[in-house]
Symmetry: C2
Subunit: 278 residues, 2 copies
């Protein structure tokens, strides 16, 4: 069995450790800053070994950096320089331009593939850990220019092994824009929606609860991806505002035909999104 | 057992008929335009009788108008004038100012309470019918000025009987503004969000799916509530845009402290919304 080091046992790192361990895909070494988290993860049976020192990563066949983006940017040089020759180094950070730049600058004898599983929910840390979290979800992979085929195949096997659907991309900036559109702007909208007068909240139904669920997420994690993705988020937010304003203009004019056409188009886009209806 | 006429067997009317029938709270007469819908509802066992003529409503103790808002505005005068003296007339329309005005103008010997259950999802018609749809959901009730206490109590018992939580309000305009904030603006945002490039949709995760679920709703129903609530939707949309723009400005400046404060405040509002976390 290959040896996988998972650095950071938040919801994504913990779920990955659980999925790899439960499905007997790897011997998982968990690395975390706090000894208590390491002990708890051991008790949960989601990893084989746990430690608080990054050195553990040096002995792994695959090292997965699963700390918040701004933390992992600081960890990359040290982990990369100590990684075993021929081993594979990857991450699960939500933004990729800064991460890929840090990987490019790092000295390493490992093969590097940046990654981003489009999974997770509002439950933070080991409490939100779920071995089936990645089931059916896309996992974006961006290989560094000289990454050998064998390394890419190895990571793809692990990603498929935990139930995810690999989506290879070449441009981290394109990734960040897509993610800004599909995830970071929805987060901002959820926060803006959730700040309602308390009287108004008394009558909230399912549509409001669905639309604002991500506002329950860990605020520090959200700050992390927003602040490492400012340009793309701004661009995606302006696109969003343009579409919202167009709907408002049609409604103000009472243009039922125009509104119907836009609503139908949006409905059919949403119905065609991967993952099926609902 | 009291006799309840439900006019319109869409998701809300059908679910109400099912809830009242299954819980043995009333003998339900379903009224629908299409004979096929009436037959299907009978086969589903969610009502005692079905017909296509509004006359059926005249014999009921309680008549519930559950057609789309613009249809029910047209039905109010006829149904109200034929309702039995001492019977109760109510509706489940999503906007209330125009409905309450139509009730005020109508000649009737029935007691009138306008209503709006904050329930439902993107599944339209009898396919989306669910006897537990109202469980734990708020149901806004607005009594006409001279409605006797006994009539209000009777409706409140039915509402509680199907598992809902009555929320009495006095001002239909205040209702429409709250609903614009909590429901209609979220719908518009969902449509604006869903109109993404197809490439971008390939990487969509849960946050996007939750945020855009209502864009799968029946477009005609949505047009109905948007077009009967233009003023409040516009006001709520401007409030929303103000909060969204504030978040964007803080992000553009890299103001981590300011952003954290707004995100935390929104998170705590959402966590305190009725219905529990998640």
């Amino acid at each position: 069995m290959i040896r996988v080091a998972v650095v950071g046992l938040g919801q994504i790192g913990g779920s990955l450790a659980a999925a790899l361990t439960r499905r007997r895909l790897a011997r998982v070494v968990g690395v975390t800053r706090r000894a208590e988290t390491a002990r708890r993860a051991r008790r949960m049976g989601i990893l084989a070994e746990a430690g608080t020192a990054l050195e553990a990563a040096a002995a792994a066949d695959v090292t997965v950096l699963a700390t918040p983006v701004r933390t992992l940017l600081r960890q990359i040089p040290g982990v990369a320089s100590r990684a075993r020759p021929g081993s594979l180094l990857t991450d699960v950070g939500s933004t990729k331009a800064e991460v890929c730049a840090a990987f490019r600058r790092a000295r390493t004898e490992a093969s590097v593939v940046a990654g981003h599983p489009m999974a997770g929910n509002e439950r933070a840390g080991l409490d939100g850990c779920d071995p089936d979290l990645f089931e059916g979800r896309p996992w974006v992979l961006i290989a560094a220019p000289r990454t050998p085929r064998a390394a890419r195949d190895r990571l793809e096997r692990l990603v498929r092994g935990v139930g995810s659907r690999p989506v290879w991309m070449s441009d981290p900036i394109e990734h960040d824009l897509r993610v800004a559109r599909i995830s970071h702007v929805p987060y901002l909208l959820a926060y803006a929606l959730a700040r309602q007068p308390r009287d108004t909240l008394r009558v909230c139904g399912n549509s409001f609860r669905d639309a604002t669920r991500v506002a329950l997420s860990d605020v520090e994690m959200v700050l992390d991806f927003l602040l490492t993705n400012r340009g793309p988020v701004r661009r995606a937010a302006l696109e969003m505002r343009g579409r919202f304003d167009e709907l408002l203009r049609l409604l103000a004019r009472g243009d039922e035909r125009g509104l119907r056409a836009r609503l139908r188009e949006a409905r059919s886009r949403r119905a065609g999104a991967p993952g099926g209806p609902g």
